[in-house]
Each structure stands twice: as C-alpha cells, then as structure tokens.
Symmetry: D4
C-alpha cells in the first residue's frame, strides 16, 4: 500500500464512500499483511521476487525430501522459477512427484525449473575453477547464474601451478562482465585472475584438499587475504552464493 493508495482511499473517505473505521482497518491490515505463506515448518517468502528480483531459492541441505518438495510445489504453483541447491536424487524424486517438469543437474546437485519472466543479465559471467575436483561447486555457480538469466562461459582446470593454461585464455577473461573463481587447496587463483582484469571477481573457496586444507579453510583464508583489488569472497563450497552475487551484479 503506497502513498498514492492511501491518498486515494482517503479521498473516498472524504467523499463518504468509505467509512473511517473501515478505512482505518484496511490501512492497518495492509501494514500487517505478511508477504509469506505459512507451511508450519516453513514460511515461504512469496514477495522475495519483488524485493530481490528472483524468487526464494531452496537450500536442500538439512531439509527432508518432503519438506523440499512441499516448498517447491508452492513456488512453482505461483508461476515462479525454481532452484533447489544441495539436492540429492531422493530429493529430486520427491520434487518430481509434485513438479514433473523439474530438471536435475547431477554434477551441480541442483534442481531447476525455468518459468516466469527472468530479466536477462547484461554481459557474460565467466565461471572458472582451479582443478577438476572443484567442478561440483563451479557447476552449482554456473547453473545458478544461468537459471537467473545470465549467459555463462565455463573455463575449468586452470590452476596456478601451470600458469600458461590460464594465460592462454586471457581473451575470455577480458570479455566477461563478472568472474566467479572457484578454487580449493591454496586458493591462489582469484588473486592471479583479479590481477589480469578490471571486472569484479567473486571468489568461492572449496573444501577440496586434505590435511592442512582444513576443509577449505586454507583456500578461504587465501582468498580473504588476496593482495589483488576487486576480490570478494563467499562461504566455502557456496557455488550458489558465488553465482547469485555475480548475477545480481550482472543485472545492474
């Protein structure tokens, strides 16, 4: 209920078309109206698309397949696009029972259904990763960016120990509008990439490694301490967060 809504209502009050008490109740109700749908175990945020440009995304981790499916069903029923991350096949089966058209992306562990009007991003998002083992996280970022309306270019296995593999692809780096860099182990790739480009770099550490990688902490710290400008970081293994941030920037 905007200022003009209120003014219009008040005009009708003045003209006697609406009773003051009723109008008062209406204003209060509007202020109270919750833009969400209560499923008991979840409050689906039905206004998120209005507020943030993309409907609520479901993090599969820690929810039962039935819970995921129920939330997914409500989102799809409103004609909105669907994205479930960290979904296993069992969850996909539960979702598919309610949303038969949903697609499963095995490597990215994501369920998607594109519908409604997703505004397109302006440039290309480059998703790059350091090693073959980082593919799951990189794909989660890439699928997220694609579902959110972006053109995505994938450049994989270009870790810094064989620098020529990256330097050979400088034109692709230069033509991106945002770059998502996924890396585990020492997490040095974002620093090197950011030193070569003028666009924002979203760094995604992965839990790939062993021993003193401490489940991705080494990569995370490396990225937070990057000596290059224009690098910001999301959580370990958070491919979704990287792709989503890139999409938000690419839609500016």
């Amino acid at each position: 209920m905007t200022a003009s809504d209120i003014e219009a209502l008040l005009d009708r009050v003045r003209r006697g078309e609406v009773d003051p008490a009723a109008a008062s109740a209406q204003i209060l109700a509007a202020l109270r109206a919750a833009p969400f749908e209560d499923l008991g175990f979840a409050r689906v945020d039905t206004h998120r698309e209005l507020r943030q440009g993309f409907p609520e995304v479901i993090l599969g981790l820690g929810k039962s397949p039935e819970q995921v499916a129920a939330i997914a069903g409500r989102i799809v029923a409103r004609g909105q696009a669907l994205l479930v991350t960290r979904a296993d096949l069992q969850t996909y089966d539960a979702v598919r029972a309610l949303v038969p058209e949903a697609t499963y992306h095995g490597q990215a562990r994501a369920i998607t259904l594109v519908q409604g009007q997703i505004p397109p991003g302006r440039g290309t998002i480059l998703v790059t990763c350091a090693g073959t083992s980082d593919l799951a996280v990189a794909e989660e970022a890439a699928i997220t960016a694609e579902v959110m309306g972006n053109k995505v270019d994938r450049l994989y296995d270009v870790g810094v120990a064989g620098l020529h593999r990256l330097l050979a692809e400088q034109p692709r780096l230069q033509s991106a509008r945002v770059i998502v860099v996924v890396a585990g182990m020492e997490g040095a790739l974002p620093s090197v990439v950011a030193g070569l480009v003028t666009v924002p770099v979203i760094a995604v550490p992965t839990s790939i490694g062993y021993g003193a990688s401490f489940g991705g902490v080494a990569a995370l710290l490396g990225m937070l301490n990057s000596c290059a400008n224009g690098v910001s970081v999301v959580n370990i293994d958070n491919g979704f967060g990287g792709g989503c941030m890139a999409s938000i920037i690419n839609h500016l």
Copy 2:
C-alpha cells in the same frame, strides 16, 4: 537430618532412651546417606527433583540403549517424570520394554513420560527458529519446556533475511515471558528478537550450515557477541538446555 532432628535425638540420649554410640552412628550415617542410587555404571541422582525442581534428565548420547533403559526404569519406578534427550528409535525400543507408557517425539529425538506433580510455569515460553533445518533443535527445546510444565508457543522459519516474516509476529513476541531463539548459519536472529522485547532471550546455536559455519561455531560466536541486551547462550544444538533454562526462569 536437620537441627531439630539432632536436638530431638540428643534429648533421647539425655533421657537414656538412646545409647550415645548408637546416636553417634545414626548422625554419621545420616551425614553419609547418599541421595542417589548406584547402578554400577551410573549413580541416579534421586534427590535432584528436591534440589532442582525436576528429576534427573537422561542424555542419550554416548549411552547404550540398555543403560538408558535401566536408568529410565529407576526414575519412573519412583513416580517421577521422564525425559530422555538425543534418543534414537533403538533406545526408545529398549525404554519401552521397561516403561510401556513412554512417548517418542521423532523430530525432537526425545522420550517422555509425564507423571507426578510438575508445578506449572507462570507465562508462555516462545520457541522460535530461523529456518526449517533448525526444527530438530527447536522441537527439543519445546518438548523439554512442555514436559517441565510450561505452555509453549512455536514460531518457526523467521530468519533475518526476510525480516517481514518476523515483524509480522510481534504480538506473539510481546506476549511471551521467556523466548528461546534457535538459529544456525550466522545466528543473527537472537540479536534482532532481543531488540524487540523486554523479556530474557535464551539463544541456542545449531550446527546447521556448511563450510565456514564450522559445525555451529559461527552461530555460537554470533550469539555470544550479540549487541542486544538480555541474550545468553547455551551449547550448540543444546535444545534441551535452552528449554530447561527457559523453564527455570518461567517458574520463578
């Protein structure tokens, strides 16, 4: 053995009704009498209800089903209420063999049997959580508070990224006497809730999250560093501790 008990005994000694040696033994025995029952592997604290208002609660974690069942059997045999936390179905089966009337709460992983006289709490305890994945811990808190004689109001999935879901429920926040706030990931919900109310907020971090959530450490630290007044914290995933603390406050 109180002061008047001792004086009465001494009177009988003076009157020659009791032998000094026997009286001395009686006093020493009283001082020695252990208010617990020794099962070998466990010493059931049979006076805890006297001391703390609720009988001993059994933490299922790290005990065998047989050990849990034996302790549960002793508690129930004395007519006291039963609460077992962190109990799986196998433990429930062992308990049910000895205590057929016991109930199992699947989501909360708790076994309960209400008997004896539990004094009622004075107001309502609101149990709220940030996300669907926090439900197991929130339910443990809620069941604990209910078994301990409190009226419980549940408000779930009101995380801070969609603030309107919480703001829409301010009347329920305002009408609680104590609030238990359960949250994983960044654990920001207790700060926001405590800023809106005048009652104590017990914050329960959960291990929900991944990567740099470090099994609930991020949420725990967030809650310990809360800039809001009236927040205190219990261990990660300690729904029982949150519900119990709330109940103790609610019984003041």
Copy 3:
C-alpha cells in the same frame, strides 16, 4: 500512531477538518518517525527505555572520550539513567565535564548516574566469582545490576579447588533469585553452583589465566559444556551482559 489515532484522524478527514493529502502525509510521517537522535557518528536509541525497560547503555570500548561524553550528555539531558561500561579515567573526565554528577567505579571501570524511575527487581541477585583476579568483571556485573534497580549480594573467591569456601555459603546461594557466576581458568564454578540451586545461573567467563586459557576460551567452553541444568552463558569478560540478563530475569 495507534489504531485509535488513525481512526480519530480519519474522522476529522470525514468531517472536512483535515485535508486528505495532509492526513496522508501525517500518517506516512508517523510511520517514518525515527525514535532515535542522530549525532552523525551515533544514533542514540531514545526509545530503548520504552522498548526494553532501561535506557541505552554505552559501551566505552572503541569510542573516543568525546564520543562517549556526547552520547552520555544526550541521555542524561532526557532525564534517563546513565551507564557507561569499559570506561577509563580519561573517558570519565570527558563525561564529567558534561555530567558533573556522574560517578566512576574504578574496579568495575563503569560510569553511572542514577536518575528517573528505575523499577526495582523482585529478589536478590547474587554475584559470585572464583578468584580475586575475576573481581573487575564481577564488579561490572554487580554495578550493572544495581544501577538497573536490583539488590545485589557479592560472594567472591570461592573457586572449586577449595570447595568448602563455597559450601559454607549455601544459605546465601539458596536465598538468591538469580545468580551470576564469574570465573576464569577452567570455568568450573557455574556447574557446581547450578547443581546446588533451583534458580537460573548466568555464567560469565573471564580472560583470567594464561597459556591454554587462550584469553578466556577455556572458561567459555567449560561453561557452554556445563553438565548442570539452568546455566546459560554470555561473552568472555562481559560482566555487563551477565548483570543485565540477571536484571531482566529479576524484573519478570
């Protein structure tokens, strides 16, 4: 602006006494009216006393003496009570220049001025600490509780390595309505105290210790893992938080 305010305004609109556009502006303005005072570097929360029962408390740490004094001046000017924590003498000098009646508590490092009407707490808050070195934090808790209208009983240097010192004071433990337990090093005192009483125990770890105390982490972890019921924890050295939580509970 409550429902009746709005209805009254609308009545005047209907009677032609108020122009709809003006009324609309008034409603919007009311909704927008910020209950705080903007000093540029700080937004003094002038409604906190209404919302939480005690005016905004100033954490001295990280603020310049001038900033503290300016905020303190605004609070006192409104007739509200003043509490500044983590204040050194230099800060006190700056505050005293603006608020000559303010008192400095050296051991607690706190500045106070009691004015206005602070509702009294219902019972006694016992503040206890494990060792002489914990006194600064314990005093911060005690002063906080006193300023907030509570009767405070102090019981110091009763660490668990000489248990008889604590056991000798059981009557004082039993007569408290809330207990704040302050301890550094291994932080075992809250568990022992909570096993002896039926009232809530607020545990405050201190940074007292060396080596593997890790600046209070050992005590913090000990308290979070307490095997006793009815213990919740605040941040390391957060005497204010402990005293404030105790006061909120004692005002229920």
Copy 4:
C-alpha cells in the same frame, strides 16, 4: 607491442630498412619490457591504471614512512592519483615532504591526492556501519570509493539491536547502486540489509568487540554464513577492499 606493430616492423625488415638481428632484439625486448619501475625494495606497478582502471594503491602497514613516501612520489610524478591506506601521521609527514598537496584523513587513516582523470561511477555507493566503533573502517571504505570517482552516501550506527534505526532509512538503502556494510561483534547487519535490497552488498567485518569476537572472526564468520542472497565478504577491517570492490562494480 601489438600484432600490427609486429607486422609493421616485419615490413621494414622485408624492405631492408631494419636488420633482422636488430628487429629480433626489438621484439624480444618488447616482450621483456616490464611495465613497472624498480625501486629496489619495491616494484611500482605503473601499468595498473591501464589494467585495472586505478593506479596502484599503497598499503601503509608494514612499510617504513620513507618507503611509502618514495613509492608515493613515483606515482604522483606520473600524474596518477594517490591513495595510501593504514597510514599514520608519521607516514603522512614523510609523504607530504615529497607530495605537499596530499591530504590526510584522520579517521580513515588514509592519504589521498586526486589528480588525473578518474572515470566517475554510475550510481551512489552507500556505506553503512553497525556502531560508532566501526567508523574508522567505514571511513576507509568511503574515502576509497570517493577517490575512485564515486558518489558516497554515509549511514552510520544502525546496528540490528535497534532495528527501527535501519528501517527508518529504507529509501536511502533503495537508492544505492552498491552497498558496503561494515560491522563488528556478531556481524549481522549485512544479512538484514541484503534482505531489504536488490543490489550487491559488500560485507566488511571489523575487529571491534572483545572476548569471543576473536579480533573480528565472529563478524567474519557471521557474514560468510549469511542466509541472505547477494552478500560477499572481504577481510577483517579491510575498508579499502570493500570500497574498491564497490567502486569496480559501480563502474561497470
């Protein structure tokens, strides 16, 4: 040396105007020519403005005043803009001896000199912080963004424990193109802000706090685990990194 440069040179070789050995040496030299200036203790990256849109920025931390001044002198001598971060007054004195027009920003601990042509950013960058103690870091972000050609709006002391202070400023949040959120302690502000807007949020944790804030770790973890979309994070106290990332996005 581009493709057309090489072709032109070869044409001259073919016409006999240039000796093959000389041309070969010229090509090799071009490939070798380092786009930096070697001061012995530092290699000033003179091409960074070409590569990244802004000249090299000097991190004052860990460099002697003389080293900072020498590097600053070389940058200014080339007509480029100057930004020194983490600079104390002693460093400013050394710089001013070589670059008299340089300005010192006390709260931000930064030295600046605006010269040359800095392309303007497209929208407004909002820099917001949770508490008065976060001002130094917030100012470093704001000064950085301003020097890099952006319009900056400052919104300070709007922490989540008094949510109305933030909600009252939603229009300013809505009108920003990028938002930098600076917060210490529990670091919850970025999650709340990101839930209210559709633009990218750069989160900057600060070391403000004590005890279990662990020098900013609590805030850092809170931000990395944000449940809101569109949040990425830079290092603790890295106001420069936050302002710079925001500027890069705002120049897209």
Copy 5:
C-alpha cells in the same frame, strides 16, 4: 656392556687370550647391538621392559589386525605380558589365532595376557569418571593399571553437577595413592577431586559431549587450566596413558 665387562675383556687381551682386533670388534658390536626385533613394518622394542618396567604396549589404532597379531606374537613368545589398546573384535580374532590365551575387554577395547613377573604397585589406584558415557576410557585406564600390577578401585558417574555423589565417597578418595580422573564435557571433576586429596591426580579428558565440546577440547582445556594443585593431564581419550602414568607413580 658395562665397565666391568670391558675391563674383563681387556684383561683377556692383556693375557693374550683375545686378539686386539677381535676385542675391538666385540666392543663395537656391543655398542651397535640393537635391542629390538625387526619385523619389516615394525621394530619391536624388546628391551623396553628392562628400560621402563613393562614390555612394549601395542596401540591398535592405525594398524591392521595382522600387524597387531604379528607384534603380539613376538612379545608373548618372549614370555612378556601383552597389552593391546584400541583393539576391535576383528583384531582380537587375529591375535587369538596366534595367542589363544589372550583375553578381550569389550568396554575398554583392550586385549591382555598376563604372564612373566610384573612387580606389584604399592597402593591403590582409584579410577573415577564423571558420567556413564566416559566408561570406555575409564575402563581402558583401569585395565591398563591392573595389567601393570596395580590394585584398582573404580568410582563411576560422580560428575560435579550432583556434588553429593562425590562427597559421599571421600573415604575412597582419601585411601588411594594415585587417582585417575576421567571426564568429558566441561572436565571440571579433576579440579574438585584434587582440592579434596593430597595425592597426584592424573586427568584424562574424553571426547564425550557435542557442539562446543569440540571432541574433548573443552574438557582438555578445563583440565590444563585447573586451579587445583597436583593435576597433570594426558591426551583426550587416552585412558591407557592415564593408567600407565598412575602405575609408574604407584611403583615408585
């Protein structure tokens, strides 16, 4: 080869009974003779009983059943006592095939065979633990002490939250010559016990707990920071180390 051995040999050299070169070789060989048996994957320390009073103990963790059995076979073949810790049933099967008389202690996860002459300890070792869940570690300590020739008294489930359970057993505490205290969670029991006795207390933290117990770190830190005198600590879950240290002290 002692001084008298050397002198005797040299006497024979002087008498011409032994050739100087041969005697030289003999001395060098003696210095070189390795007091161990080489199995390729292991060097069994056959002189440990001489050096340390008890034969080599086998840590089962990280060794295959076949490796454990082979080492155990060599020890038993020399007539020495056998102790294998952290052994599962599969390992026991492999050992039993070679050493049929070996005994398996399920709760302690230990394999033992008492043979040879183990000198008896002088007093009683009391093994006490805080909770039922600590029993596996406590039993490992008790079995270790028994195999090493000590009389062991077991006092279990006397955690500090119900202090009367411990205080009721002071005579047993007083009559021990060494006390092993096993505790998880906050690990407060050793401080309380050491405050009541004059004998050495060996504290064994366990990994029992969850959340902020961090696999026994909370208990370990609590014990290292004990404010009581006469407490020293071994590794988390190291029941063997606690029992062994107690035995060494009890054999003084």
Copy 6:
C-alpha cells in the same frame, strides 16, 4: 570433628555435663566452621596445608600488589611457608613491606619464605629444559619444588637437535625420582627423556617460539601426543604446576 569427638561429646551429654541444645549447636557449628579467612576480595584457604600438605600458593598474575601482600601477610602470620608466583618487583616491594624476610627470585619471578615444617621429599627431582629461553619457567618449577621440601637437580639446554648433550647426562636422568621437562618450540624433549627412564615425567610446555608455535600450543600438543609412556602435561608456562606435581609425587 571426628566420630570420636562426637561420641565423647555425647557421653558428656548423657552424663548431664553438657546441655543437649548446646551440644547440638556445637555439632552444627563444627560442620559449619569455614576453614578460611575472609579478606573481602579473597578467602584465604587456611586449611589447605592440612588438606594438601602445603599452604595456599598465591598466583600473582591478575592481582594487585596490595592484594598479594595482604594475602601473603595472613599466610605468614599463621607461621606457614610462603610462595608467590608470577610476581614482579613491584609486587615484591609490597610484600616485603609486610614480610621483610621474604626472598625474590628474579629469573623465576617468585617470592618465597620458608618457615614452619615442610616434610622433605624422598628422592631428587630433576628439572631439565630444552633451551636457554626456557629458563624462567624451569626456574619457577625448581624453586617451587625446593620450597616444598625437595632436593632439585637442574639440567638445562639439552634440546633434541643436539642429542649428545642429553645422552651425556644419562646418569643424572637415571638417579632422579621424578623428572620435570620444560620445553618450547616443538616440545619433543619429554618424549625422548621418557623413553630413557622408568620414573614419571611431568612435561611443561613453554610459550617460547614464534610463528606457528602459537604461544606454546605447538609444544603443548607435542607433549599431549607423546608416544612415550609416563608423560603427563600441565599448562603452558606453568612451571609452578610442574614443580608442585613433582613434589606431590616425590612425597608419596
């Protein structure tokens, strides 16, 4: 008040020599009589010598010189021996004003006064350290052991990187009854020493080192993970704890 005391008293009651009410009061008083002296900021544990064989030791850290002096004065006034650890010269000045005969040990940072009857230890305590930088902690251990009545042998700077320095002193190792091993950096010395002897080894990690020594954590972890038998550990830099534990063992 022992059993025979009670029986004697009751005999007198029976003979009419004592009034029952008076006797009752006497028994209750005895049970209540606190064996400590209350200084307000400290409760001096006057019965510790009875309970633990040595009077209360004052940890200087975190106490003001005046507080230390006041406690020291009370201890000396009762004719008991004095030991203050972590005392600087300012504290010594305050103590000396009250206790002129007290001695200051500069390297050990300890204040001592030997008086009363300290029972002598049975054998020699060897205090050994790895490097010259560990001397302060080693001396704290040695002074502690000496004040507590033990003969102490000092063997310093025998770190494992020059093993011959240690091996050359095997006779001194062999002739000790208890060994305190003080080491920083990698903390390997206790493992090597314990492999050479049959007596208990108390390991004291020090904060000597830099970088990844993390203030003594590396040494602490090394000692806790010792693969040698008969090693237990006290807190980082806790020379007092090491010397005290050794003394308790040496007095068995």
Copy 7:
C-alpha cells in the same frame, strides 16, 4: 620459440622466403600455443615434463575413476610415465581398462607405469617413519621417489620413544643424500634425525593419532617449530610431496 628461432624466421623474411604477415602470424601463434590438452573437465599439462622434469602427476582424491582414467590415458599415450596418488581399487580398475600395464601399490594407494626416460637421481633417498601406522604415507613417498628415478632406502618404526632403534641405524642415515621423515602424533622424529645428519630433511606429518593430534596438526606444528637446522615441511599425509621434493633435490 627461442631467440634463434625468431632470428632464423626473420632471415627468411628478409630473403623473401616468408611473407611478413605469415611470419607475424606464426610468431603470435607460437606465443599463444597452449602447451596443454583440453579434456573439458581437465587441461592436461603436456609440457610439465619439459618444465619440471617429470610429467603431470594425477591426484586421485576428488576425481571420479573415469576422470582419472581419461587423464591417465592421455599421459600414457604420449609415452610419458604415469603416477596416480590417492587411488583406490575402483580407480585402478578404470585405469587398467585403458592402461593394462599399470601397477597398483596397495599400501601406498598409488598407480604407476614407468616408461620414457626418467633421469636417475644422484644419491640415495632415505624414507624413514616413526611408527607402523605411518606406513601408508611413507610408502607413498617411497614409491613417488622410485618412479621419479631415485634409489630408495626404507627405515621404518624408529620413533623417538625408543631412541636406540634410530641410533642403531646411523650409518644408513649418514649415507643418504636426502632424507624424508614421516611421523604422526608429536612429530618429533625430524628434529632428532636432522640433528644427526648434514643433508636436507623433508618432514611429512601424518594424521596418525587421536584426540589432541587434531588430524595431524600436532605433528605439523612440531615439525614447523623444529629447533634443528635443515628441516622443511609438506602438508599432512602428503607422502607424494615429500618424495617429489626429495627427488627434485636428488636430481640437482
């Protein structure tokens, strides 16, 4: 394309044998030519043998058997030697299907195929480990060194708690050109070994241990803090890294 290549090409340009545009294209192409093979999910670094003396080694961890097999197939097809680390039997099966001559080393979890010309190392590499449980890592180091052309001497189970086992083998220590020391738990062996020799020691911590070994952190820290000269360290459990570093040194 070296300087002489370029000069030769330019000579041909001058002689009119090559067109300037074509020559220009050829130079640019050479600079652009990527020395790797793109499999989509991996970019096989085909020039690594030229750059680093040994072809690319495949880390099996985190790659699917099919991915490993595909990369292995490409390497073998070029006639290069094959080394896959962290390979399970399933991965071996996939590799064997493509490379039937490949060998599996069970304890080292490595797949190898020796072909092509590996230049031999100059001296012997000694691989030594502290305990039987460290064998897997030690074997990975040994196999790596052997595949890379080195003579390897294995000396296992010589931990510092039984020092004579190591001292008995000093001749083997002395005759090595590089030593790889593998140890878990307290990780003290490298310090002791490095104190006895003049050659470089590569320390490999293992995750063997429990409790406060924290998955190898204790050993890692011990090695990083070694007080001996000539010790450098690789990641926890990185037998490959240790063997490879030793081989690079041995090929100097």
Copy 8:
C-alpha cells in the same frame, strides 16, 4: 674415538704399554666426553660444525643480551663463524663488547662474523619476496645463505597480483639452483614460482597482513596446500630456516 683409535689402544694394552684398567677408563671417558661447553644457562654445541657443516647459530629471541654475548664469545673464541638471528641493537651492543668485529644487519636483525673456512655452495640461491613488507624476513634468509657460503640473488616485490613483474624475471628464476620464496597475506607466490622452475622451492610464510591473515597462518596454509610440485615450507617468519635449508641443498 673411532674403531682404529680403539684398536691402537688395545695394541698398546697387549704390548703392556697401557694398563687395562686405564685403557678401560679411557674408552669409557671417550664415550662419555660431551662435545659441548656448559655455560650453566646454555650448552654450546661445539661439534655442530663437524656434524652439520656450520657452527651453532644463536636465536636471539628469548635470550638476554648478556646470554647471547656469552654464547657468541665462546663460538668466536673457537675460530668459528658467528650468526645471531632476531637480534636487536641492544643485543648487538652486548655482542660487540666481546666481539668487536661483528657486523649488524639492521633490516635482517642479524649479527654476523665470517671467519674460519665455510665451504662455498655450488650454485646461486635466489631469494624472492612478494611485497616490500616481507623484506625483513627475506633479508634474514639472504644474510643466512651468504654467511653460510652461498652466492645470493635478491628479487623483491613480485607478488602475484601483478604477475608481469615476476614473468619479466624468468631468466633469473631459471638460473638459480635453489629458490627461497618469502610471502605473507595469501602466500600464493611459491605455487606460481614452483610452476615455472625445476629446482627446489623453500617457502617462507610471513606474518605480514592483518585480520584473517592471523599472523601468517593464511600464508602458511596456502604454502602447505600448494598444488605445485617441489615446494616445502618452514615456520612463519623463519627467514633463517629458509636460508639455511637452501644452503644445505646448495652444498650437496
């Protein structure tokens, strides 16, 4: 005393020139003779030059100027070379009083005196660092390597965010026999360097950085997790260790 010494002695025994008892005493004494000089607070390892090729190096950290000077005096008196690390000017003054020819290197914080015969290293050691702030550590490495007889090439400020600065110097990288890479912040430089060369890379993390660099932990972890071959790591800020390891390799 070698085998031939013993045989010669025995020959004299056989010839009656030496008494058996005297010879026996001589042999035992030789075995006992400690190759160190005992200063009380330090045991100077006088045989280290024989064992390890360079005399004992003095770590200044944690030693008093007088202790350092005394040890330095003993080393120089034997005609050996002197290296003191982590020495401040006060320490230098104390050393100079005893050893007037000693030189102080301000940036490296080292004291040196070259005398005696240091065998020269075979190739050049390249010491490279990422930023100007790493110079102190890099210089410590360089001075160490020079004092130990090596030719050193310094290449400073070539961090990965401006990769061209490093790539421009590939010939210097290629011509080194060993490379020491010093870097703070994200510590990515060793990975990039090691990918370009075939010689061993010794990585030295520095404590340069702030916030999540955690005093060099980020750099340390980055280096331990390096995906490049031929990288091993020493302690944070351990320039000495890096230079020493490089020298040992360069002397092979």
